[in-house]
């Protein structure tokens, strides 16, 4: 993972509108997409299916409590 991701304090959210047929389908697809991008610790924060698709916020945790925080190590790199 590129080092820039280390600077994310804890999580990065992906907020979008996904055209899909059901709430389950939308959730499945977005998780798949974000995992394809290389994120592992992925969860759906919010999902609401209405009309043509779902309003979804998916989250990938980069640093969880107790992890070694990449953004603390920044000083050492340069």
């Amino acid at each position: 993972m590129p080092k820039i991701l280390d600077r994310i304090m804890d999580a990065i959210d992906f907020e979008t509108f996904l055209v899909c047929n059901s709430d389950e389908e939308g959730r499945k697809l977005i998780v798949q997409l974000i995992k394809e991008w290389g994120f592992k610790d992925v969860d759906i924060v919010f999902s609401q299916h209405q009309g043509p698709g779902s309003r979804i916020r998916a989250r990938a945790y980069v640093h969880r409590s107790g992890d070694v925080y990449g953004w603390l190590e920044l000083g050492n790199e340069e």
Partner: protein
């Protein structure tokens, strides 16, 4: 002459081979030209497609099969069926309909959930010419089996990994279902026979006179209080309803004399909600003391099928993989202590099982 029969297929857990058993039987009877009526108790949610909300059809059926299932199941089926009648019974998957398969394909059944509805379904299937009705059971549900003439239990490693425990459970079930005799055969005195019409739980003396009477179902040990009076005069007991484990235990404590006759309604009433070991031990103790056991209605456990397969959970992948216990050992253990025919559903051909269930006469 072929007697019409209704058979239930129950399973102790998922993946014990209930569906495989059903499929094998359907196949076998088809080749013998037996008209089968197929239904199920409720439906298995695992067969639902999350996206479409329709069931995924898994049973392959052939032309001529009569089925009772919910409307939405027909929508999802690939087999072509002709609807014969709408039963007017509602289910979450629509109304129950009776249909006949016109072109083979896949179906899924979602039948009645309550036993009195199953009775209606059964009568209807017979009316349309079914010779043998197969009721695919639902996990955790045994009560509707009251409307069958007997059932098969599918069990295996998915229930318990320890084959001895699987065997013991099967043994208890077999004993409970099959050991007591039919009350009709057991009771000689007409005065006693009349007591079987009682809607309440009764105890009587040698003359057939009722000494105490309590509720139809024995749910709470307190209900048995009045049985303590004249307990030494009691010669027979009939319970038309359910008896819970605690009540059975309490019943065992009442100082009835030896040589009693216990009549229960049917094995289902001793099984539902109960600890099979306690029920089994009660029956054994009572029998050892010289008492007789009978059921007003017999619902025999006709056979057991075993399946050594179980889904093994893997933490690394967060998924399940196929696994088996020793199938030889499983078959042997169950056969040795269960007093009913036992089959390995994958290995054995269906013929012997089918013959036990229903004599096709062909």
């Amino acid at each position: 002459m072929n007697i019409r029969k209704t058979i239930g297929i129950a399973g102790t857990a998922k993946n014990t081979g209930k569906t495989t058993t059903t499929l094998s039987l359907l196949d076998y009877y088809y080749t013998k030209g037996v008209t089968i009526g197929l239904t199920s108790i409720g439906y298995d949610g695992e067969t639902m497609d999350n996206v479409t909300g329709l069931p995924k059809p898994r049973l392959f059926v052939r032309k001529g099969l009569l089925i009772v299932t919910a409307e939405k199941c027909l929508q999802a089926s690939s087999a072509k069926v002709k609807i014969l009648e709408n039963l007017g019974i509602n289910t979450p998957l629509g109304k129950l309909v009776c249909a006949v398969v016109e072109r083979e394909g896949l179906i899924v059944t979602a039948g009645p959930n309550q036993s009195h509805h199953l009775r209606t379904v059964r009568d209807l299937l017979f009316r349309y010419g079914a010779e043998l009705i197969i009721v695919d059971g639902a996990l955790g549900r045994i009560a509707p089996m009251i409307e069958t003439d007997g059932f098969i239990m599918a069990t295996g490693a998915s229930y318990k990994l320890d084959s001895y425990q699987v065997a013991r459970h099967a043994h208890y079930l077999a004993e409970i279902c099959n050991y007591p005799q039919s009350a009709k055969d057991l009771l000689k005195d007409p005065a006693w026979v009349k007591l079987l019409d009682s809607r309440a739980t009764v105890v009587w003396n040698s003359l057939g006179e009722i000494l105490a009477e309590v509720d139809e179902s024995l749910l709470n040990p307190e209900q048995l209080g009045s049985f303590y009076n004249h307990s030494s005069d009691v010669r027979g007991l009939y319970c038309p309803g359910l008896i819970t484990t605690q009540c059975l235990q309490k019943l065992g404590e009442i100082p009835f004399s030896r040589g009693m006759t216990y009549i229960f309604s049917d094995p289902i009433k001793l099984i539902v909600g109960n600890d099979l070991k306690v029920t089994h031990d009660f029956l054994t103790t009572v029998q050892q003391e010289g008492s007789a056991l009978g059921y007003k209605q017999m619902i025999p456990l006709m056979a057991i099928t075993v399946n050594p397969f179980y889904p093994k959970y893997r933490y690394e992948s967060g998924n399940y993989e196929t696994a088996y216990i020793d199938k030889g050992q499983l078959l042997e253990e169950v056969t040795s202590i269960a007093n009913v025919p036992v089959f390995d559903i994958v290995q054995d051909s269906c013929t012997n099982l089918a013959k036990i269930i229903f004599d096709t006469g062909k």
